[in-house]
Structures are given as C-alpha cells and as structure tokens.
Amino acid sequence: MDMTVLKAENITKSYDNVSVVEDISIELKKGEIVSLLGVSGVGKTTLFNILSGLLAPDEGKVFLKCEDITGKPGSVSYMLQKDLLLPHKKIIDNVSLPCVIQGMKKSEAREKVKPLFKEFGLEGCEYKYPCQLSGGMRQRAAFFRTYMSSNGVSLLDEPFSALDTLTKSAMHRWYLDMMKKIDMSTIFITHDIDEAIYLSDRIYVLSGKPGVIRDEICIKQHKPRDEEFAFSFEYMEYKKRILKAL
C-alpha cells in the first residue's frame, strides 16, 4: 500500500527578498525513511521548519495525512542535531514531556513511558539527569522523546552529526533496528552521502541557490544492510549519481 503520511506541495520561502527554497514538493510514505541531502546553506533547515509548522511558507502547503498543517506546529515531531534535553529534568521527565504538554499529568506520563525504556536501550537511566549520560545515550533519549511526540511522523535534523565516528555507526545500527520495532515514518536531513545511502529508502538531493530538488533516488537494497553493501557496485552507482546532482 502506498500510503502518504506527509506531503509538501510547491513550497517556496524567501527572507528579505532572497529566495531560500523554491517550489519544493516532497512526500513521505508510511514506514519510510527518506533523507534530504544537500550542502549546508541550501535551505534544508528552513524546509524542516516549514514541514514542522514552525515557519509558514510564502507559497505551498503541508499536509499530514489529509489535514492541512501549514504553519501549525505540534503535529509532527522534530529532533535536532543538539539533543536539547532539558538539563533540569530527569530522563523520564524529558521523554514524557510531550505527553505533559498534551495535557497529561506528570505521574501518568511517567507511567506511559516507563515500559518503553528497555526498548530504547535506556534501562536504568530513568532517574538520571541528562548530564550523567554519554552523547550516544543522550541522543537515544532525544530520539525516544521524538517518538513520544510523533503522530507516527518525525523530522530529524542531522541527528547523528554531533557524534564521533564509532558512536555514529553504532547509532546507525541502533536506529535502523529501532525503526523496525516502532511504527514511524521519518524524514531526516544530512550532508553525509554515506549516511544517506546506508539509512534511506529514498533520497531527495537538494542543491543550488535557492534550493531546489535536483534528483530523487530510490535505494532498492533491502534492509538490514550489511557492511558489504558499502563496497558494492550499486552503492558506487548511487554515490556517483548523488555527487553529480549536488
């Protein structure tokens, strides 16, 4: 079934008469991982702010399932490069914050997230403060919180780029593993070509000024993808095609 969960149509946005993104249309199907690939300054973050409703586009519309959410925040969840865990809240209160914001009582929200700690690999961290966790664990907690606030759709803005290489590849495996377990469709921003090919079902390549979509590539390799894939002929072909579009 080709079910589209999030759709952006003809998005255009400019700041002070300088066009940042122009006529961008993208869509996300249920269960998909789609990446937005492009060099910095191409308007990826602006596009994300529009998709999440934080920013209203000059032209174009954003739909969640069939509902128009243009300029209305609070419908899809958003995770940034920085983990942005609130330093004064324990991990359990950080991850249950979306529920509290939706009007749930603190104790109820805690009960709701408690059983999920094991699944997210954060067992035993419930009552710790963010500063007591390593970078990778904090990112997991941030991802957990994103999951709690999502209506099945999440936007990840360079979620792994602040991590060191080893933590990063461990996080990639963990992330793909999580995505199989939970029902979530994701768009994520990256400027790392290898990361995009390794994780995505589809890749949108953004480039130019203003940013436009240059290419859309389906990565057909089945998941889970092993290390061999990175040395395969197909992989090189994908990489070549992306580099050409950038």
Binding site: L54, P73, Y78, L80, L86, H88, K89, C131, S149
Partner: protein
C-alpha cells in the same frame, strides 16, 4: 569522606587570613598603639556583646522582620516586572530605563523622605529594603530568561507547547541559577538596607541601637553590633545557598559527573 576532607582543606586559607586580621586587631589595641577608647580589643567587644545580648537580640528581631518582608516584596515585584518585560519587548523598552534610574538614587537620600511620608514604624524600612533588593533579582531573572537557547523554544513549539508551558518548563528553570545569584546579593542588601533606614528615624532595630551607642561613644558596643550584622548577613547568604542547592538538584548531578 574525601570530599569532606577536601572542603575543609579548601577553607584553611580563609580561616588563617581571618584569624590573622583578628590577631593584628588584638595586638594593636592591647599594646596601646591605637588607644583602647578608639579601638576596643576583640575581647572587650565580645564582653560588650554578652552584656547587651538580650537587647541586641530584641533589636535584631525587628530588623530581620523588616528585612524579610522587604525582601519578599522585592522578590515579588522583581518576578512580576522581569516576566512582563520578557514577555513584551515594548515593556522592556519602557521599564528598563526606570529600573536603572531607581538604582542610581542614593538610599541615604530617600530614606528620610520615606520616613516623612510613611511615619516612624516599619513601613518606610520595608519599602526601602524592597527598593534596594528588587534590582539584583530583576536583572538576574531577565538575564536568566534570555539565556534560553532559541532551539529549546522551537523544540517546545514543535511539540505543541504554548507560551505558558514554555515559560514553566524551560524559562523558569533556566532562570533559577541567575535568580539565586541575584538573591544572594539582595539578601545582604536587605539587612544593610533595613539598618540604614533605622538610622534615619525609628524606635527599634539594630540601626536605632547603633545610633544610641554611637552617641554614648560606646565603641565596644558599636563594634559588637557591626560584627553581629556581618554574621547575620553571612548566615542568611548561607541559607540562600542551601535553598539553592535543594531547589536545583541537577546542578549537583552536573558537578558530580564533571568530577568523574
């Protein structure tokens, strides 16, 4: 155990330097380099303090009540005004200059006016304390509100939070450390402010006691009450620190994880 030992070692230089100052004071007055009617020795001061203990305590009670109510009003005003200024930029523009101006008015100059307007009871003293303690707390809160990273606010909005939730979940906790820094300064201002306003008119309080013993040239009693005020201020600042530690448990966790 190790931490406790370390905290004692850290305090040794301070204890030694204070001890040396007291020793120097003692030598100066005992040897007669400075005549004892001008500078009473530490033991004379101690004796005077013990003799007048009950009287000083009675006056101290009045001063502390004034300082406490004044500080409470100062905190309440600081909170309301800083929050309003943070919420509406126009209020910030309108109120900030007034805030600065109130701080440049010398306390000594308005204290007698307050007495004329409000009488010789507690009201003018409480008002003066409120005026002097308001500023450090308001500035602390304003800085604290502003210290919040824009990304946190965007994240909260993306989760569907409105202004109120952003304020309670993000802004207030971020402002707490700044608030306490301001409160620490204000606490010492509160006691000194109350004493100064008592100098300029009143029937009770440490300031009144001070003017009386000064007129009698009882320097030993004068020194006793000065040292007593210093000790009260220090204890109150310590109390603020204790409240700060209790209300921000995550700061302790951060310190511990840095030590490891």
């Amino acid at each position: 155990m190790r931490r406790r030992l370390q905290s004692i070692t850290n305090k040794i230089p301070a204890i030694v330097s204070i001890g040396l100052v007291v020793l120097l004071w003692h030598i100066l007055s005992v040897t007669g380099i400075v005549p004892s009617y001008m500078l009473p020795s530490p033991s004379d001061v101690m004796k005077a303090f013990i003799e007048d203990f009950e009287l000083i305590m009675m006056h101290a009670g009045v001063t502390l009540v004034e300082a406490f109510y004044g500080l409470l009003i100062g905190i309440a005003f600081a909170f309301i005004i800083a929050t309003v200024m943070d919420r509406w930029t126009i209020m910030h523009k309108a109120l900030y200059p007034i805030m600065i101006i109130t701080q440049t008015i010398p306390t000594i100059a308005i204290a007698p006016l307050l007495v004329l307007w409000m009488g010789f009871e507690m009201e003018p003293k409480i008002t003066l304390v409120a005026i002097t303690t308001f500023f450090p707390i308001a500035v602390g809160l304003l800085d604290g509100y502003k210290s919040v990273d824009r990304d946190y606010i965007d994240l909260m909005r993306a989760m569907g939070a409105g202004r109120y939730r952003i304020f309670t979940h993000v802004k207030i906790p971020a402002a707490l450390p700044h608030f306490f820094s301001g409160l620490k300064v204000s606490t010492s201002y509160a006691v000194v402010g109350a004493v100064i306003s008592e100098w300029l008119g009143g029937f009770e309080g440490l300031g009144v006691y001070m003017t009386r013993v000064k007129k009698a040239y009882a320097f030993d009693r004068m020194f006793a009450v000065i040292i007593f005020i210093v000790i009260i201020s220090l204890l109150l600042m310590l109390l603020v620190n204790v409240i700060k530690t209790i209300s921000m448990p995550w700061i302790l966790a951060e310190k511990r994880s840095k030590e490891q």
